[in-house]
Amino acid sequence: MSNQHRIFQNALVAAVGMLFAAPMLYLLLLSFAEGWTFPHLFPPRVSAGLWETMWGREQGLVGGLLLSILLSVVVAVGSTSVGFLAARYVSYHRWRRGLLFLSYIPFVMSPVVLGACIHVVFIRLGLVGTVAGVVIAQLMFALGFAVIFFVSFWNAERKSLEEAARMLGATTPQTYSRVLLPISRQPLLLCFLQTFLFSWFQYGLTLIIGGGKITTLPVLVYLYTGEANIYYAAGASILLMLPPLVMLWGNRAMAVRFGR
């Protein structure tokens, strides 16, 4: 590789990297800014006032954060475990293709549009405005993903490994605990992560099924972004981004450690 070429590449990496990092950096700066309006290219005044008052004044934010974590963990654990088993059933089923196609529908379709359709079903079941209702609604979409994710995992090799364990005398629980779960650690974690993020990011669906009662962090952040005070919106956005960032980076480190 020529020297010139290398310099060009490094410059490109730096530029693209900046672009990727820019939203986070901008939000951070905005959350510390004051009076940052047109035509100021940089904040005229800087203060940590927002971060001091945000927790004190809006107790809702802490509550929203905790609620979001709880909700996302439940959705992620639920969809990962049910998806793991359901995908096994689908994989080895005669109608594998048809069943898999069904899973693609909740996987890619807009949660908001489907949410409007299932609204009445959820009201009849008394689930609107409850945490359980929001969990179930989100599970519906997360499950579609989890099933698709694990169907490719349950392949012939997995099946043979399981058969090998059985021939050596393993019962069903033993097959799971000693073979299937240990060899699935990485994909299970990955699926957990993905479904966690799906739930964590969900706004429209939570709004419809939660009936405004379930104020998760994304719902609160949207309230702030629609509000006149953009500094608040920036602060709340950072709170919303931190957990996914930590998880994604953690997953990367894990992926490297386990040698992919």
Binding site: E34, F38, R57, E58, V120, R124, G211, K213, A228
Partner: protein, 408 residues
């Protein structure tokens, strides 16, 4: 197969659930009960209040002041949830369609169309307002209070605050703001791209004020919806707006979806005007540091609409007694005075100050004055009554059809 049996059972369950409709039995008959009985019934219960939550100051007033006070004084827990206007209507409607027993909400911050529509589908509990002891301090003779969008309130919603539409401008960027339709036209043509209004409640209220002005005064459009009059005057309104459209922000091809983005753009200097349904909001926003200290509010010479906002109780609420206790507290002099302070919210009171005990009269007269909004006495003569709600619904629709979707 076991499998299929289970599935079909669940289907039946789903369909079956909808058939049950019955109001939860109330332990006291609210119509006959004394206020003491109602207050006793409410104690220890949780009331779910649906309200717009986009303003941190209002949230703060409710969460840090109203909720603890209710808890301490009446043993009522207030649970605030975010929902407003059409969302409330569609939720209550869907609940009715699904035959849900106890509503998700016990109390709702509503007015205008929401009130009208909820009355239309018979989703409101009432009349209940005369039961509230503090209601005696409200002047129900005031037409801006006893009538909500030409619809008599009749005790089906409790007045909470009273406000008037005001235009907000920056004295630095627009030293002489337009006060009439004619001046507005001249202004936008001279300063293209600096004026717009939102495509939501506030903007439509602004259009309604213009419609009244075009019609030649509120008497022309008073009373029930008159489609002939509407057709005549709205045609003139759209003709006027479309004439100005190319000079609006984004050449009038789009409008902010709500008033908050409009506020953001005003604060950022992208437009020179914003507006608020609450004449006192400008003080509040300047104090928060969002608007520059050079921001001021004013009303058009042709007048702007004044209206009240209210609290309503859903018919299917299981906590009606609790909701009434909350209403009574919200219209107490203590709560109303606090709300009036621009540092807190800056929302106009519904109480008739003359009916208050002397000490309270003193306090109401000594509220730290409004600095950036004109005094109430000055804009009161220019207050216009709300029109029948159909005007608003039609304006929403026709504005979309005749202005937004019309590609010039």
């Amino acid at each position: 197969m076991k499998f299929l049996a289970l599935l079909s059972l669940l289907c039946l369950l789903l369909i079956g659930c909808g058939k049950t409709t019955a109001d939860k039995p109330q332990s006291v008959d609210l119509a006959a009960a004394s206020w003491e009985q109602i207050a006793a019934e409410a104690r220890g219960h949780t009331v779910t209040l649906a309200m717009w939550q986009g303003d941190p100051l209002i949230n703060d007033y409710m969460k840090s002041y109203v909720a603890p006070a209710l808890q301490n004084q009446y043993g009522v827990t207030l649970n605030i949830v975010g929902s407003q206007g059409n969302d409330i209507v569609s939720t209550l409607m869907t609940e009715a369609e699904a035959g849900k027993e106890a509503s998700s909400y016990d109390l709702m911050w509503i007015n205008g169309e929401t009130f009208y529509q909820l009355r239309q589908v018979n989703a409101l509990h009432g009349p209940f307002v005369e039961k509230l002891p503090n209601a005696a301090m409200i002047d129900f003779g005031n037409r801006f209070i006893n009538t909500d969008f030409q619809q008599p309130v009749e005790g089906y919603e409790c007045p909470w605050g009273n406000v008037q539409l005001a235009i907000i401008y920056d004295t630095v960027r627009a030293p002489i703001p337009p006060r009439t339709r004619q001046q507005l036209e001249e202004y936008v043509k001279a300063h293209p791209g600096t004026f717009t209004f939102d495509n939501s409640f506030t903007g439509m209220t602004f259009l309604k004020s213009l419609l009244i002005d075009i019609a030649g005064g509120e008497q022309q459009l008073a009373g029930p919806f008159d489609s002939a009059k509407y057709a005549t005057y709205s045609a003139q309104l759209w003709e006027y707006i479309n004439r100005l459209k190319p000079y609006f922000w984004k050449e009038g091809k789009t409008y902010p979806a709500a008033v908050a983005p409009l506020h953001q753009m005003f604060a950022n200097g992208e437009v020179n005007f914003t507006m608020s349904n609450n004449d006192g909001e400008v003080d509040n926003k300047v104090l928060q540091g969002i608007f520059p200290a050079t921001a001021r509010a004013y009303v058009l010479d042709g007048g702007t609409i004044q209206n009240s906002h209210y609290m309503g109780i859903p018919k299917r609420s299981a906590q009606k007694a609790g909701a009434m206790v909350v209403c009574n507290f919200l219209i107490s002099p203590e709560a109303q005075l606090r709300k009036l302070d621009p540092n807190v919210w800056g929302d106009g009171t519904v109480l008739d100050v003359g009916r208050l005990p002397d000490e309270w009269q003193q306090k109401f007269r000594n509220v730290p004055g409004r600095k950036y909004a004109p005094p109430r006495q000055q804009i009161q003569p220019k207050a216009l009554m709300e029109l029948a709600p159909e005007y608003m619904i039609r304006l929403f629709d026709d504005f979309r059809r005749n202005v937004i979707q019309k590609q010039s």
